[in-house]
Symmetry: C2
Amino acid sequence: MSIRPTLAAVAARAGVSPSTASLAFADSPRVAPATRERVLAAAALLGYAGPDPLAASLRRGRSGVVGAFVGERLLYAFRDPVAVQLLDGITEVLGAHGVGLLLLAGDTGRPSAQQIARIPLDAAIFATCGLEDDPALSQLRARGVPVVGIEGPVADGVVLIDIDDRRGTRDLAHHLHDMGHRRIEMIAMPLRLDGTRGPVGKARRARNHYRDTRHRMEGAEDVFGPVPVYETASNAVDEGEAAGRVLLDVPAHRRPTAVIAQSDVLAAGVLRAAAALGLRVPEDVSVGGFDGADLPWLGETRLTTVVQPSDEKGRAAAQAAMDLVHGRPAEPVVLPVALRIGTTTGPPPG
Amino acid sequence: MSIRPTLAAVAARAGVSPSTASLAFADSPRVAPATRERVLAAAALLGYAGPDPLAASLRRGRSGVVGAFVGERLLYAFRDPVAVQLLDGITEVLGAHGVGLLLLAGDTGRPSAQQIARIPLDAAIFATCGLEDDPALSQLRARGVPVVGIEGPVADGVVLIDIDDRRGTRDLAHHLHDMGHRRIEMIAMPLRLDGTRGPVGKARRARNHYRDTRHRMEGAEDVFGPVPVYETASNAVDEGEAAGRVLLDVPAHRRPTAVIAQSDVLAAGVLRAAAALGLRVPEDVSVGGFDGADLPWLGETRLTTVVQPSDEKGRAAAQAAMDLVHGRPAEPVVLPVALRIGTTTGPPPG
DNA sequence: GCTCCTCGTCGAATCGATTCGATCCGCGCC
DNA sequence: GGCGCGGATCGAATCGATTCGACGAGGAGC
């Protein structure tokens, strides 16, 4: 029991050559059915469970594993409904190809780069993170591992799966502007993962790591010109709530008439902040989000938001990864977004 | 560019043997510092990014990948805060060992068994699922891949990481009983993944797939004797809400004075159902949960629940997996749970 | 001066399959 | 009866590293 039989042993037992046995396990039409039977019988007899994936991988040059980088700790990634949908879309496509998804915590520097070096990956997808200067990225590029980026990083040879963040936010901004809003503020997802929260100045903005964050700011400014931005430390409900309290707990004449949150999760936090401060939505303040995630705890409230096809994004990324793995070219993709007007936006007060 | 340099090429360029080059990359103390430098320089020159993980894996007999099975679609798994914490704990330990986590959708039969055969796994963890008759399980056992089960499956050679489900639920039941409750009902997580929801009869109960579900039923019955059980189709808030409506939307004299949900997620649904029906908690009905998950949408309400160390469970499972991979024996673990009394339980009405 | 030991390097076997081209056999056709 | 052809099987190279035991040189000890 301690020593596991090899394909060669099975072949010997079946009275065929290893090559034939291999063909038999691969279900090749080149082996006679009777021979295949004999090989399979021998395998059963010896307790051989099929070719060793490791050896097969080496020979084939493929491991059947694709890595997905999610931002910081997995725990936080899973709290983000967009990330979850993304991963779901990814696994859907990968699973159909018999390929597994390996989760990696990205944007953390050294440890992930270390892992990359030891773990056999056929391709990598930067799912919810993407720093141009991530050491893991250069590792992968040096290794010749195909890389797909979801909204970043932008780098040579990285296939980008994108959505029209700027246009989506611009549509939302137009919607607010048309109703008469002139004093709006934005709550942003982290510009980089260093725990910073607070108003975003010029310097901070220049150090922004993420494309989606940037494009969503630009979309609002396309309509309103400069818009004050308040950064959160992570894309989570309580971060949104904390930010919402800061922006909304001020005298009415200085309070924004509308808040654009860069994600639905943050928007949900703003709604909670508004409720806690006794402000009615949308009568006292309008709130817009981004993602079109279904947040179970919103109840009857229907958030005005920009709907993006998160699962489709995942599928497209996985498809691109599979194409690259098989040596096919993969085109960058830009998926459409659509404004969905709910019950959280209305005319400004007064 | 099309052909990637090998260790042998680097060795030749550095004027050393492949074995020495290998030692150099492994940071072995057996190579002279000067030699190591020379090898590294040659590698840099040739654009060699380090030993190919596939080849190294074959030789070592380890791939650096551990598989985790989560129930059905990943999408649902990620909605479950317990599963998320579990995975977080798992990655924490695996990451420290430089090992990656591969996500697999379990309990679905064929596809996962197929994947197992192609993907090199050092060990497998059944995280949120565990059927004794899962084909993937037999595949793994036949391959000699170490298997760790979290609350199941129970099978020969599977190291079990467990919590005291029965005792925890019994404590909760005692708490209710002590306050005078006599008419209680339970809302259960799925007994198997076939989309069934509704009252659980004897036949259905005999076909229960999951240990935790069973033990939590038994815990309640230890105190109350036979308890009506209502099964949900999946462990999700809206399932809990739907079940809650069924149980609570009846004349007061037939309504249970307390509902024990088998998870906090289901309990959250029950709270919503109660609110929708205009029932006060705990004045009209008490609600208890299980898990001790932090549910952001509960607001001020503090759910009475049985706290289990989900992350610790993940860590223990991963630790056991690593032990087994390295040929060390791994002991089964039973982790403690603790009743935490919140604001959702009180004396029965009347 | 000789032996022994240590440090550093090298050779060669090994991990377990896949795959391409060659070979062999039997049968059909001319 | 000989030639050719197609289907099944086999040999051998290959994937790219790791690792153990052997080997050689140089220094220390007696």
